[in-house]
Symmetry: C2
């Protein structure tokens, strides 16, 4: 499984991803799901991936080849972020269709991948898109300024409570890590290292990147602190005046 | 969708269920998913249901008919709670098999239902079982003394943090309602009225039952209080010493 999330704030974009992949519970590996490419001062992209690993690797290889070979369409020459989302969606759809067959789907094989593409192209606002296996895509809204892919349910309630477009980056980073930590706690197929990237609006640089392994002091203190505070909060709640 | 949960504590059993059913987003109804039957001083049962409504109604009708007709096998004459689980599992499996066909499954039709059966028979401990569509069943363990059916992910983290076998009933009731409230907030197909039942160990009576509609003062104060406290707890968390 996988859990990746991305937040679009006034101050910039925050990306967070786990690194565990599994093909069955007995075949667990570690792969980064956060992929970055950019030209300083001109354009920056971050791509998060969930779903079939062969599909996401093929899509990424194709993205990189198109850049290296100076293809007519590549992330190097897109004029708008939405064009970049359409381009990545086209690759994602084509790769899935190369491998899907009705028999395989019934047998439980699924070559689908879902992606989050974020970044900024000069003279445009920063943008964030969710790209579906079918190649279409949606952007975030001001009301729900975050996207999640993979195992998203456990970590969603805290995002719903905290994240607004005007949330400061410091709080957003903590919230992303709490959301990730709750997910790791509840689903053993989501695991470290945790990658985190903060992109400040209009910086047009690679941003601030951080990887945390499971023993990282901050991650451990966050986990301990959140656990204590939630239990304390719970213990202060009003009792039901129920005469049982 | 549905969300039901049941807790097995030293002090007794706690059951909680929502009442929203939907066949597609445009066909939403209200049905109780908490079903109770017992003979005071001898035996008490509570059955929670999730999944196909036609299947759960048929199972319940059959359970009631077997009791009324004095059938050889019925909830009225089971000697052990595990026999009761096997009996309900058999009915559940038979009802599903009457309606399943490979073509329908591919078309998205699914007659499966999952049930939680809890209660106590005199001279036995209180028990709690999860009964699968295939008719088999598991009981809770001391390490994980709760069961959930339906939309269980949003409400699981708080149960993981709070519920132990020695949790007092008062805290367990609050925790069950917080778990239910988080689920309602995140999934529009889980909804009120919320039903709650507390069965005290060895009481062998129907227990203490309560139904909350959405405007119930306690449910509203719980929601407001939890929201505030979680946000306060979050705001007190340590910041990441990240120089971005």
């Amino acid at each position: 499984m996988t859990y990746c999330l991305a937040l679009k704030l006034n101050e910039g974009l925050v990306f967070c991803s786990d690194s565990r992949t599994n093909a069955g519970a007995d075949q667990v590996s570690t792969y980064s799901k956060m992929h970055r490419w950019g030209i300083d001062g001109e354009r920056q992209y971050v791509l998060l991936s969930a779903g079939n690993l062969a599909t996401t690797q093929s899509v990424l290889n194709r993205v990189q080849r198109d850049i290296a070979e100076g293809a007519e369409e590549s992330l190097a020459n897109m004029r708008y972020m939405s064009d970049a989302a359409a381009y990545v969606g086209k690759l994602n759809k084509a790769e899935r269709e190369r491998h899907v067959s009705p028999d395989d789907v019934n047998a439980g094989f699924n070559p689908a991948a879902t992606l989050i593409l974020g970044g900024q192209i000069r003279n445009e606002e920063p943008q964030l898109f969710m790209i579906y296996p079918e190649g279409n895509y949606i952007s975030v809204s001001d009301i729900t300024p975050f996207l999640q892919i993979g195992e998203k349910k456990y970590g969603k309630p805290i995002l719903d409570r905290i994240i607004r477009t005007d949330t400061d980056v410091d709080s957003a980073v903590r919230c992303a890590l709490v959301s990730m930590d709750s997910t790791m706690r509840s689903n053993a197929t989501v695991g470290p290292p945790i990658e985190l990237l903060v992109y400040k609006s209009d910086s047009l640089t690679g941003g601030c990147y951080h990887a945390f392994d499971d023993n990282h002091a901050y991650l451990q203190s966050l986990r301990r602190s959140w656990d204590e505070k939630v239990i304390n909060a719970f213990n202060e709640m009003p009792s039901l005046p129920l005469d049982c």
